[in-house]
Symmetry: C2
Amino acid sequence: MSDKTTRDHIVEAADHLFYRQGYEHTSFADIADAVQISRGNFYYHFKTKDDILDAVIDLRLTNTKKMLERWESEEKHPADRIKSYVRILLTNWSMIKYFGCPVGTLCTELTKLNHASQEEASKVFTLFRTWLRQQFILLGHRKDADAFAMHVLAWIQGVATLASTFHDEKFARKEVKQMCEWLESTTQTDVPHE
Amino acid sequence: MSDKTTRDHIVEAADHLFYRQGYEHTSFADIADAVQISRGNFYYHFKTKDDILDAVIDLRLTNTKKMLERWESEEKHPADRIKSYVRILLTNWSMIKYFGCPVGTLCTELTKLNHASQEEASKVFTLFRTWLRQQFILLGHRKDADAFAMHVLAWIQGVATLASTFHDEKFARKEVKQMCEWLESTTQTDVPHE
DNA sequence: GACATTGTAGGACGCGTGTCCTACTCTAAC
DNA sequence: GTTAGAGTAGGACACGCGTCCTACAATGTC
């Protein structure tokens, strides 16, 4: 049914595990268990654990790009696109509730590990940032577009962190609603022509 | 000059290291180096690494309480007290820039480790939350006080996360300014009588 | 059938870890 | 001077880790 290689399976399993357990706390044995593969066999696909991390980050970059493109095609109005992003908090609530934001938590961990790939990991943030900026530019906020993008990014990030600490869905819902209202208030312009 | 016990020194060093390197990534050897103590000697003061973590959390709870009391005595107006909290982002910028928020990052890490002390760690958040709520109540926001408290908490948390990823001080300053303005806009009431 | 290629299994290796033990030093009490 | 207790040093221990090696199975090519 699937033409996925073993390598793909490893990267996917690592992606999930890094998100749920953290990078450092996830061992080769954990991934091997998840993929149902011999532990020693890893070396054929990846020389080091860092290589797996890089592959995971690549995967996340690819998936994020796809998601952004989907939002762009599904929603014509930039404000609605931004809302798609904001609402991801609720869409993925069952995971965020326990493990927070995959992007933020990985960046935070890699920073503390002083890991070589921390810049690479932050590119996922940059992807969102650039995309959000573009949407705000389309909304006519040329000058403040980047500040707005960062603002939204930070908001979501904070809510995700608190959400995973307190597991409080009501709070998340309220914040998302508020954020959407804020978006509407700063977005009284009409649909711009792309 | 100081009457601090070796135990105190261990807890302080662990506090710093847990913040900068993360809990898991900090070894007994690291702490021993920092305190200039024999590695094996730890066992006399702490039976397990978890015990050190609990002591660190206790220390943070104590220090946080002290800080909140100081803010309360230094600033009479609740809005100014909240601003003291918001401005901690800039006060501790040199650390936050690299390591994010000590509270949030520890909670996040312990969640991923599924560590027994994650609830204990979240009490530091709760400390801030309760205190902020109290300030908002004093400002006359009885009904929404807790939502406001969570909102501020989340805001700061998000900015700290992004700040430590992008090391962008301008962004932090702008957000703090914005937050202070927001505080003033929702705080047109006069100084309440305590 | 011989052979190279690709992928897999299983385990060896060295290292760092948290934990724990024992021997030693210092101080104060009597 | 002897003794008890608090504090320290150094290292042993078992374990899990990332890494790496070798032997084997499956597949396709000539």
